[in-house]
């Protein structure tokens, strides 16, 4: 029980749990509907999901300040690409949270004149931007690690010779493209396996990507799939809280 207390004492941990519950409800609702459960049960699950969503919006009030602070800190990073990506990502997150606060005000009845659809679309657009920037940062890190790994390979003796022969042979015939892709893929998998934080971040962002894509209408998938993606990314995020070494730094 002690681990639970330590875990949930962090406000972010509880928020992630509630997010997992929310997307779990979405998934359960879609699954129940497909399997022909009674309309009342489905309605209850949807109501719970709506409550969870509204409650999470309430808890996110003032999160823009958080994101702006993080953006201020990210400006001092040494690496240019990282600096650019992280600052942009945090700024987009701040805008997303600001739109989210407006949505909450509308849903809670404070400002009933708020156009829910318009602000919802806006908030998801900023969220999508933030995720794309995060993924490009991940791609940059992967590229850098792959080059380092390939360079390290070349430094080794006999194996390097063999690899080079393989490479020359690969650069020769018509099957060269397939072989080259295979080599790159193997290198990519090796890099990802050796860097769990990076792998987790890539998976998390990839899962998260489907949510705004669906809500904005860019890539419509079933509600069950969206729920599953949300649940998966929440679980991965909880893992990074339980094991702080799994969090990608900076």
């Amino acid at each position: 029980m002690e681990p639970w207390v330590r875990f949930s004492a962090q406000s972010q941990a509880r928020e992630r749990l509630l997010r997992a519950a929310q997307y779990g409800c979405a998934l359960a609702g879609a699954a129940l509907q497909r399997n022909g459960a009674s309309a009342e049960v489905v309605a209850r699950v949807r109501q719970l999901e709506a409550h969870l969503s509204l409650g999470r919006k309430l808890l996110r009030l003032g999160g823009s300040a958080d994101a702006l602070e993080a953006a201020k800190r990210a400006i001092h990073l040494s690496d240019t690409v990282l600096r650019f990506c992280l600052t942009l990502s945090h700024l987009n997150r701040a805008m997303y949270l600001a739109c989210d606060n407006v949505l909450w005000a509308g849903k809670a009845g404070l400002a009933p004149a708020v156009d829910q659809e318009k602000w919802s679309q806006r908030s998801f657009r900023y969220y999508l931007f933030a995720l794309i920037v995060n993924l490009s940062r991940d791609a940059y890190e992967i590229r850098a690690l792959m080059e380092r790994e390939a360079g390290g390979q070349r430094a080794k003796g006999a194996e390097a010779g063999r690899q080079q022969q393989q490479r020359r042979r690969a650069e020769a015939g018509l099957q060269q493209l397939g072989l080259r892709l295979q080599l790159e893929l193997r290198l990519l998998l090796r890099v990802l396996r050796g860097n769990p934080p990076l792998l987790l971040d890539v998976l998390k962002n990839a899962c998260d990507l489907f949510i705004p894509l669906d809500k904005l209408g860019l890539y419509r998938s079933s509600p069950a799939f969206v729920g599953l993606c949300g649940l998966a990314s929440s679980v991965l995020s909880i893992l990074t809280i339980l094991h702080p070494w799994l969090k990608l730094k900076p």
Partner: protein, 243 residues
């Protein structure tokens, strides 16, 4: 720097909860004040809606606090002194019961179990909350009284060891009477800020009028902001011998 302070404060689970609670009670107060005035029904409705949404969001965030209270109760059963041990354990156990009632009320408000008797559970929740506060106050009273006793004993020893008769008379005057008692009390409380904060927090409970509960919440919020995480640690046993 102010923003950093805000972020730091709300990052802790407690801080954000306090802010939400303060806002909720402010809404309650405002709706009570404005209700009397005519043609402000819409505003009152909005405030009530806002208060309901904050209350439900806070309850949701509190899910799982039962475990917190049980763990705290387990910890306090290991205190060396009898009175704090009994008081704090009872307080934490009733707090756990309060959170159970709270969870049940949340289940009803969310629509998962619509056939729950809300007034009964709310009644129980209030009783548990007050009992736990009472236990906390009892423990605070005990702490203050043994410190007071200790300080009085120290003064008496100083009196006995001083050779100057005139000084002795003056010292006696200082120790006796209500004036001396309050001076000593003030001295003790000044030297032990966590104890003061705890007592003040417990004593500020007068929730029947919306004004008082709103003021109560704002006072608690201010105390929290000023003191950071000033938790009252369970004290070690009172010293049995005096220097």
């Amino acid at each position: 720097a102010a923003m950093e302070r805000f972020v730091d404060f709300t990052d802790r689970s407690q801080g954000r909860e306090r802010l939400l609670r303060a806002t909720q009670y402010t809404c309650m107060l405002l709706s009570y004040v404005i209700e009397r005035k005519a043609d402000k029904e819409e505003l009152v409705l909005k405030l009530k809606q806002l208060e309901a949404s904050m209350s439900s969001g806070r309850k949701m965030f509190r899910l799982g606090n039962t475990v917190h209270a049980l763990v705290a109760a387990r910890r306090t059963t290991q205190l060396p002194d009898v009175v704090p041990r009994v008081c704090l354990t009872a307080s934490n156990l009733t707090r756990a019961l309060y959170f159970v009632c709270d969870t049940v009320l949340w289940l009803k408000s969310v629509g998962l179990q619509p056939d729950i008797d809300a007034p009964k559970w709310r009644n129980w929740a209030t009783k548990c909350y007050y009992f736990s506060l009472l236990m906390n106050l009892a423990r605070d009273w005990y702490e203050v009284s043994w410190r007071l006793e200790h300080a009085v004993q120290k003064e008496k020893i100083k009196e006995n060891s001083s050779w100057d008769k005139r000084n002795q008379e003056l010292n006696c005057l200082k120790c006796d009477g209500l004036h001396g008692f309050f001076l000593l009390l003030f001295q003790i409380l000044k030297n032990h800020p966590p104890l003061v904060l705890d007592m003040v927090k417990n004593l500020l409970v007068l929730p029947d009028l919306p004004v008082i509960s709103a003021l109560h919440e704002h006072a608690l919020l201010t105390l929290d902001l000023w003191s950071g995480e000033c938790q009252l640690c369970p004290r070690a046993s009172a010293p049995s011998s005096f220097p």
